[in-house]
């Protein structure tokens, strides 16, 4: 299980929990697992193509990752709005 850390409205969509334990071998499967646990999250992080939205950053153990970044048991997956998104 990886530990997914959520902020802002994503936390509310995930039932108010700041962290969630989710299984998955890479970032995309972890995020899909999060959607399975909390269907309200669907469409908020991954779009219809299965791509992380342009202005959302995902970090694995403090390093920026993408959909295919490998995730191991105990890894910390942090989902954050990017500084590029606001105008």
């Amino acid at each position: 299980m990886a530990l997914v850390c959520l902020h802002g409205p994503l936390r509310n969509l995930a039932g108010g929990c700041a962290t969630q334990e989710v299984s998955g071998a890479d970032v995309k499967s972890v995020l899909r697992g999060l959607e399975d646990l909390h269907p309200s999250v669907s469409g908020w992080i991954l779009d219809e193509r299965g791509t992380i939205r342009r202005h959302i950053n995902v970090f694995v153990n403090g390093e920026r990752g993408g959909e295919e970044t490998t995730v191991a048991v105990g890894d910390r997956v942090e989902v954050l709005p990017a500084i590029t998104g606001g105008t």
């Binding site: 469409g43 219809e48 193509r49 299965g50």
Partner: protein, 355 residues
């Protein structure tokens, strides 16, 4: 009392006021900091629906019974999973007959709701055209921005896409056909205009009292149709510029239309710093400037395609439009005189009015 729903770059503003007195005040604000592309009050359910495109989390439709209270996210506002493109934005929501709601968006998509906006279903027949025909986007994206039902005929619907032209259905969206005859895209070489499908319609409206009468603002050109949008005739002569985005009609008069000319695609502001609406009452044969009460100098405003709406009709027709400057102007007497309904708001993306 008249209610204005203003979609702005920084949230939804709900204004309430008296068009006769020309006084409006902000009654509520929702989605602070978020771009609200469009908002409307459903005449059937009285519910307010808003389309919000979070730069972080993507486009969503929300609904509420009280804009100052809690909002609920609608379901189904997405392309099918595994698509090779994503939903970018919802441009407009329009009530159809029998409680149906229609929503149009980018990339050229149409959604339908039969439960007052709680859940939405993608129109797959139109989606097929978009994929097979490889529609080209305009400057604002591949936006389906105008949806015009046919009053009393729930299966008949027309819509406009920038830049994929005008489309019609007579079977509730099972099949679609184009309706572009007579539209001359001046942005294409003359020899490429005949039969062109890359058509940048800016906005389309249908006269409620004579549904076969329609109007469009085009990317250069104001057009009228008298055959339900199959063919179009240019009617922009007499305007200071036939470039603009929004158009509004008086429901009581099928010969009426109001447009807000901008200087051109090279400079999308009110010409000569003069804010002025132009009115026709003879189906576009002549145009009369209607600017009394609005700035006639030093005002270089941009008015976007969904930022002009009306409520009422005839001599009591109320007209409202907002600009990216954050100014909102209104008229309670069919454009004869104007007042400032709001100022110093965030850039206004859309205006809808109800009384």
């Amino acid at each position: 009392m008249t209610e204005l729903l203003l979609g702005t770059k920084k949230g939804l503003f709900v204004l309430e006021g008296d068009a006769g007195a020309g006084e409006f005040e902000i009654r509520a604000r929702a989605f602070p900091g978020e771009p609200v592309d469009f908002a409307m009050r459903d005449p059937a359910s009285k519910r307010v629906l808003a389309t919000v495109t979070s730069p972080f989390y993507g486009p969503k439709i929300w609904f509420t019974d009280d804009p100052a209270g809690e909002w609920t996210q609608a379901e189904g506002v997405a392309l099918p999973e595994g698509s090779d493109e994503a939903l970018e934005r919802i441009w407009v929501i329009v009530p159809g007959d029998g409680g149906t709601l229609w929503a149009g968006g980018d990339p050229g998509v149409l959604f339908e709701s039969r439960d007052g906006g709680q859940s939405w279903e993608l129109n797959r027949a139109l989606r097929r055209h978009r994929i097979d025909d490889n529609w080209q986007p305009g400057g604002g994206g591949l936006c389906l921005h105008s949806i015009v039902p046919w009053p009393g005929e729930p299966d008949k619907l027309s819509l406009a896409v920038s830049a994929a032209g005008v489309w019609h259905t007579d079977d509730h969206g099972e099949t679609w056909r184009r309706g572009n005859q007579g539209i001359a895209p001046r942005y294409l070489p003359e020899e490429a205009r005949e039969g062109a499908t890359q058509l940048c319609v800016h906005r389309m409206e249908r006269s409620p009292s004579m549904p076969e009468r329609m109007f469009i603002l085009f990317h250069w050109g104001v057009y009228r149709s008298d055959d339900a949008g199959q063919s179009w005739t240019e009617i922009g002569e007499g305007l200071p510029s036939d470039f603009g985005f929004p158009i509004a009609l008086d429901p009581a008069d099928p010969d009426s239309a109001y447009v807000i000319p901008l200087k051109g695609d090279f400079d999308r502001v009110t010409p000569d710093g003069n804010v002025c609406v132009y009115e026709t009452r003879d189906a576009g044969a002549t145009w009369t400037p209607r600017g009394e009460g609005m700035p006639d100098r030093d005002a270089y405003l941009t008015v976007l395609r969904r930022a002009f709406d009306r409520t009422g009709e005839g001599r009591a027709l109320q007209l409202y439009f907002g600009a990216t400057s954050g100014d909102v102007f209104g008229s309670g007497n069919a454009g004869e005189t104007w007042f400032t309904a709001a100022t110093r708001l965030p850039p206004v993306f859309s205006v809808t009015a109800s009384a």
